[in-house]
Amino acid sequence: MADRVDVVAPVPGLVASIAVARGAAVAAGDTVVTLQSMKMEIAVPSDRAGTVEEVLVAEGQEVELGAVLARVRAA
C-alpha cells in the first residue's frame, strides 16, 4: 500500500474543478483538483507520479481540511 498516495485538501473549500479522470497518468506536481476557498483558487497537485486510481469528490462539493480528494498509485 506504500505506493498508493492520497491527494488531500490543504484547506477547507469547494471543489472548483477536477483536472484528471480515473486511469489518467499524472506527473509529480500535476494539478489533480482545484479548490475554491474564500474567493481563492488553490491547485492541489499529486506529490508523486503515477496513475489516478480514484477520484473521491465531485465539482461543487464542499470538503473539509485534510479530506482525501483522490488516490494515486505511484509509478
Binding site: P10, V11, P12, G13, L14, Q36, S37, M38, K39, M40, E41, I42, E62, L65
Partner: protein, 452 residues
C-alpha cells in the same frame, strides 16, 4: 427625490458600513443574508432582514432574481452593492436599472467601459492620462511571445476582463509565458466570461497610488486626494494609507487632474477610484478604474472628514454633493490594516472556523469596521477579510505608533489571522521610512518573517 429605502446587497463589514450611512441619512434599510449569515452582526443594523437562500454566492449574494424580488416585496427604491459580488458586473447592474430601481453607483455603461481593461486604456489615452506601453488583445501564444519581445521584459500579462489581480502574471523572461497565457485566459473566461488577454510593460519598484473621486448629476466632480496601497500580496491590498509618503502637492494635483479628466470623458457619476502606478522617478501611469466604493475608503474619510458612503447615497438620490473641492482639506495621516482569516505560516491559505473571541481596539483615533462577532462562523464561501483597523493621527510617525497600539489590542480567536504579520510589517524599517513598492511584501517582508 432623495432615497427612501435601500436594500444593501452585501454582507460583512461593508454591509454594516452602508447600513450605518443609511441610518444617519434617514433612509430605511433592508439587509439580506444567506443561510450562513443569519446571525451576522450587520443584520442587526437594518430595519428589516430577508433571507436570500443557500450559503453559496450563486444562491445568495449573486442571486439577482431573488434580490430583486426582495427589493420589490419590501418596497425599496434603491440597491447598494457594496464592493465585490455584482458591484462591477455591468450586465447585472443593467438589469437593476431596467427594473426602475436606483443602483447606488455609476451607470452600467461606465461599469462596462471600465471593466474592459483595453477599452479603459483607450479612454485614458483620450483623456491624456499617461499609460505604460502595452498591447491590444493578444491573439495567440505566438502573438504573446512576439509582442512581449517587442515590449521588452519584464512584462505583465493580464486578462482584459475583470480585475483584483486575478489571472495576472509578471514575467521576467519568456520561460513562463505559456503557463501564464493559459492561466490568464482560463481565469478570465471562468471568472469574467472573457478569455482575452493583453500585455503591459512591468514597472519595477513602482508604487500603487490611487485617487478617490466623487461626482454628482449636477456637473460637480471632485477628488479627495490619494491613497497609497503598495503593500499587497497576490495583488490583494493589505495596508493602505493617506497621504502617500511619495506624493507631494504638485504631484497630487497632477494625478488628481488626470483622474478627473478621465472621469469627465466618460461622464462618470457617484464614487470611483482611479488606480495609478507611480514609478521611482515620480512619473505615474493609469492602471484601472474601480467603479464602486473601495475597501480602503475609510483612510480618506479619516483625513478629509467627508463620509464617502453618505455622498454616494446623496448622488444616487439626485442630490448635489454636500461639499466642493474647496471643502476638501485633508488633515493628518491615516492608515488601514486589513484583518484576513488567513494562516501566515501556511502561505496565507484561508483559515475557517468559529470566532470564539473578538476584542475590538478602541481609544483615541481608532476606527474598526468589522463583519464578525464572537460566535460568527468564518466559512469557505466568502472573502476572508474579517474587518479593518483604521487609525488617524496628526502625522505619519504618530499614526504608526497608534496602529501598533491598536493591533496590539486586537484579539481574534477561532481562526488564524494576518494580525501578527501586520504588526511586523508596520514596525519594519521599510514601512517606517515610507520606502514602499508593490513587491515589498512578497519579495522582502514575508521572506524575512519566515526566516526569523
Amino acid at each position: 427625490m432623495s432615497l427612501k429605502k435601500v436594500l444593501v446587497a452585501n454582507r460583512g463589514e461593508i454591509a454594516a458600513r452602508v447600513l450605518r450611512a443609511c441610518r444617519e441619512s434617514g433612509i430605511a434599510t433592508v439587509a439580506v443574508c444567506s443561510e450562513a449569515d443569519r446571525d451576522s452582526p450587520y443584520t442587526r443594523l437594518a430595519d428589516e432582514v430577508r433571507d436570500l437562500g443557500g450559503a453559496k454566492v450563486t444562491e445568495s449574494y449573486l442571486n439577482l432574481d431573488r434580490i430583486l424580488e426582495v427589493a420589490s416585496a419590501t418596497g425599496c427604491d434603491a440597491i447598494h452593492p457594496g464592493y465585490g459580488f455584482f458591484a462591477e458586473n455591468a450586465k447585472l447592474v443593467r438589469r437593476i436599472e431596467e427594473t426602475g430601481l436606483t443602483f447606488i453607483g455609476p451607470s452600467s455603461a461606465s461599469i462596462a467601459l471600465m471593466g474592459d481593461k483595453l477599452a479603459a486604456r483607450r479612454v485614458a489615452a483620450d483623456a491624456r492620462v499617461p499609460l505604460l506601453p502595452g498591447t491590444e488583445a493578444v491573439e495567440s501564444l505566438d502573438d504573446a511571445s512576439r509582442l512581449a519581445d517587442k515590449l521588452g521584459y519584464p512584462v505583465i500579462l493580464k486578462p482584459a476582463a475583470g480585475g483584483g489581480g486575478i489571472g495576472m502574471t509578471i514575467l521576467h523572461n519568456p520561460a513562463g509565458l505559456e503557463r501564464a497565457y493559459t492561466a490568464a485566459a482560463r481565469l478570465g473566461q471562468a471568472m469574467f466570461g472573457s478569455g482575452t488577454v493583453y500585455l503591459e510593460t512591468f514597472l519595477t519598484g513602482g508604487r500603487h497610488v490611487e485617487i478617490q473621486l466623487l461626482a454628482d448629476h449636477h456637473g460637480h466632480a471632485l477628488h479627495l486626494g490619494e491613497r497609497e496601497c503598495s503593500l499587497q500580496r497576490r495583488s490583494q491590498k493589505l495596508v493602505e494609507e493617506t497621504p502617500s509618503p511619495a506624493v507631494d502637492e504638485p504631484l497630487r494635483q497632477e494625478m488628481a487632474g488626470a483622474a478627473l479628466r478621465l472621469a469627465g470623458v466618460i461622464r462618470y457619476h457617484n464614487a470611483g477610484t482611479i488606480e495609478f502606478l507611480l514609478g521611482p522617478d515620480g512619473r505615474f501611469y493609469f492602471l484601472e478604474m474601480n467603479t464602486r466604493v473601495q475597501v480602503e475608503h475609510p483612510v480618506t474619510e479619516m483625513v478629509t472628514g467627508i463620509d464617502i458612503v453618505r455622498e454616494q447615497l446623496r448622488v444616487a438620490g439626485g442630490l448635489p454633493l454636500s461639499v466642493d473641492q474647496r471643502d476638501v482639506r485633508p488633515r493628518g495621516h491615516a492608515i488601514e490594516c486589513r484583518i484576513y482569516a488567513e494562516d501566515p505560516d501556511r502561505n496565507f491559505l484561508p483559515s475557517t472556523g468559529r470566532i470564539s473571541a473578538f476584542d475590538i481596539p478602541s481609544g483615541p483615533g481608532v476606527r474598526v469596521d468589522a463583519g464578525i462577532a464572537p460566535g460568527s462562523t468564518v466559512s469557505v464561501h466568502y472573502d476572508p477579510m474579517l474587518g479593518k483597523v483604521i487609525v488617524w493621527d496628526h502625522d505619519r510617525p504618530h499614526a504608526i505608533a497608534r496602529m501598533l497600539r491598536a493591533l496590539g489590542e486586537l484579539r481574534v480567536e477561532g481562526v488564524r489571522t494576518t494580525r501578527d504579520v501586520l504588526l511586523k510589517v508596520i514596525d519594519s524599517p521599510e514601512f517606517r521610512a515610507g520606502r514602499l513598492h508593490t513587491r515589498l511584501l512578497e519579495d522582502v517582508l514575508v521572506p524575512r518573517l519566515k526566516g526569523t
